[in-house]
């Protein structure tokens, strides 16, 4: 059931959140935590479906609302997870919360998501910088769930320092699987670091996926995109096969408040994931 149907069925408006509980809080790094969230209402819980790349609007009552990408595997139906960096009012309130606290959720939102169906039978290259790994997690988890449907898979992930690498356990597990290649890189290594050093864009030239048989997804801080795209273009990847997830200020998530307006599109309803062809037409996007 989509968000809109649900709104209609409950005779609600698009601005009313559903009540959910934080059932588990996992510590990832000094600034990031993962929150496992379960809806109070059984029916809502059962019917909540999302696609990798979509996001929800989370309300901390008394403080406000903010958008967060879903990081869990869409095939999990009982719960979903968010990975949240402590940067401001709402995120810091979440970081202070204990398990069991109630919050409000609207969504899932975003008509632009990672096209995991189209990607089937192709190679997939996933490029993440910093917290950008969060929206990609859902996709990676989905792909690994249906691993045999996809060809080669590679994750390129850059972080500031070894301590800020997120989802370490899971990354460890990927590297043990052997059916997914991994390139990790940090800007500021410590003396134990044995992997790559420098920005993750440097790793792209080494990718040897054929340009006409590869889907690419990118998510990271705003400054990263331009460099990544330059590198990808050098390798002649097709713009319509390169997917980027954008961040903008959002007050509503449903295409009304207009804060995420770029070019002639809205990030919340037309995105947040766009392919490079679309982004080219959005002048201000990068």
């Amino acid at each position: 059931m989509g968000f809109e149907e649900k709104v209609k069925k409950n005779k609600n408006t698009i601005y009313v959140p559903d009540i959910a509980r934080i059932t588990r809080i996992e510590y990832l790094s000094p600034t990031e935590k993962v929150f496992k969230i379960v809806f109070d209402d059984e029916e809502i819980k059962n019917k909540f479906e999302f696609k990798p790349g979509q996001f929800v609007e989370l309300t901390v009552f008394g403080l406000g609302e903010a958008p967060f990408s879903i990081v869990s595997n869409p095939t999990n139906k009982d719960f979903f997870k968010l990975c949240i960096r402590n940067v401001g009012n709402i995120s810091s309130a979440l970081h202070r919360m204990v398990e069991g606290t109630k919050i409000g959720i609207r969504g899932p939102f975003g008509n632009g998501y990672f096209p995991c169906q189209k990607m089937k039978n192709h190679n997939v290259l996933l490029i993440a910088g910093g917290l950008g790994i969060a929206p990609l997690m859902s996709l990676i988890r989905y792909i690994l769930h249906y691993r045999e449907d996809y060809k080669e898979i590679m994750v390129v992930y850059g972080a500031v320092n070894p301590g800020s690498i997120l989802f370490k356990n899971e990354i460890q597990y990927w590297s043990n699987r052997g059916d997914i290649s991994l390139c990790l890189s940090v800007d500021n290594p410590d003396n134990k670091w044995t992997g790559e050093i420098g920005v993750c864009t440097k790793l792209i030239p080494r990718v040897d996926f054929p340009s006409n048989d590869t889907y690419i997804t990118v998510c990271g801080p705003p400054i990263m995109y331009r460099y990544v795209i330059d590198e990808l273009e050098k390798k002649k990847f097709k713009p319509e096969n390169i997917y980027l997830s954008l961040e903008r200020r959002m007050e509503c998530g449903v295409g009304k408040c207009n804060h995420c307006h770029i070019g002639d599109k809205l990030v919340c309803v037309d995105g947040p994931v766009f392919n490079l062809w679309e982004i080219r037409n959005l002048k201000e996007a990068l």
Partner: protein
């Protein structure tokens, strides 16, 4: 949730800011319930020196005041400056325009040496101020909002856009249309545009926004027959202590 201990302190000012707290009427009882007032000379006799939040009214104009505000700065975890006098120095700063000696002489004549009076400064000249409830008088709902934000743990939202936005939300006819000049386009909102609401030009009592287009405004005001001095006088009414920053922006 623990009730925060709050002290309300007055320095050189008119007491209007503290009165605005008492003027909360509908919300006063809730407020007194949500916080523990441990110091408030306008209202209560008892006072204590342990508090987490200090609401400070008034500018610092005496040596004794400097000592007091520093002491408050050492005790309070959070300092909220309330009112123009505390935030920008407010009207009190007009005194600085004369120089302290001249001002003393004008009022006290040959007795001027009795007076403990130094250059007027806003409180952030002496202590770190966390939040500013601007305006003369401050908006009492903003004071509540700051306190409430501190209780629930968020940063209070203090507008950094011009008064014109609120003025338009209120559907006012722009006073320039009526031949009255206004500081609204460069002044910080948050007062609910109360002066234009009363068909009176904004006087910038909440200070200017972070990036005011001063040049455009000088051009506009001079079209309305104001001289550079008039314009500076307008800027200075509540911002003489911060006046330099305004002039500096000028090319």
């Amino acid at each position: 949730m623990n009730k925060p201990k709050v002290g309300v302190f007055g320095f050189t000012g008119c007491g209007g800011c503290q009165l605005e707290i008492l003027n909360l009427e509908d919300q006063l009882l809730d407020l007194v319930n949500a916080i523990e007032i441990v110091h408030f000379t306008e209202l209560v006799t008892e006072y204590s020196d342990t508090y987490e939040i200090a609401l400070v009214e008034g500018s610092i104009t005496t040596k004794h005041g400097v000592e007091r505000i520093k002491k408050i700065g050492n005790i309070a975890k959070t300092i909220v400056a309330i009112g123009a006098c505390a935030v920008t120095g407010g009207l009190n700063c007009l005194k600085n325009l004369y120089g302290p000696e001249k001002a003393k002489e004008l009022v006290y004549g040959d007795k001027k040496d009795w007076i403990d009076s130094i250059e007027v400064k806003p409180i952030d000249a002496y202590v770190k101020v966390d939040y500013y409830a601007r305006g003369c008088p401050p908006n009492r709902f903003e004071i509540v909002d700051i306190i409430r934000s501190l209780i629930v743990g968020r940063k209070p939202e203090i507008p950094n856009y011009p008064v014109c936005i609120e003025c338009k939300r209120n559907g006012n006819t722009c006073v320039f249309e009526l031949g009255i000049t206004c500081m609204g386009p460069v002044s910080r909102a948050g007062c609910n545009s109360r002066c234009p609401n009363s068909v009176s030009g904004c006087e910038a009592c909440r200070g200017v926004i972070d990036d005011p287009n001063v040049n455009a405004h000088k051009d506009l005001l001079s079209e309305y027959g104001l001289t550079v001095e008039d314009i500076m006088e307008g800027f200075n009414l509540y911002n003489a202590c911060k006046g330099k920053t305004i002039e500096k922006r000028d090319k």
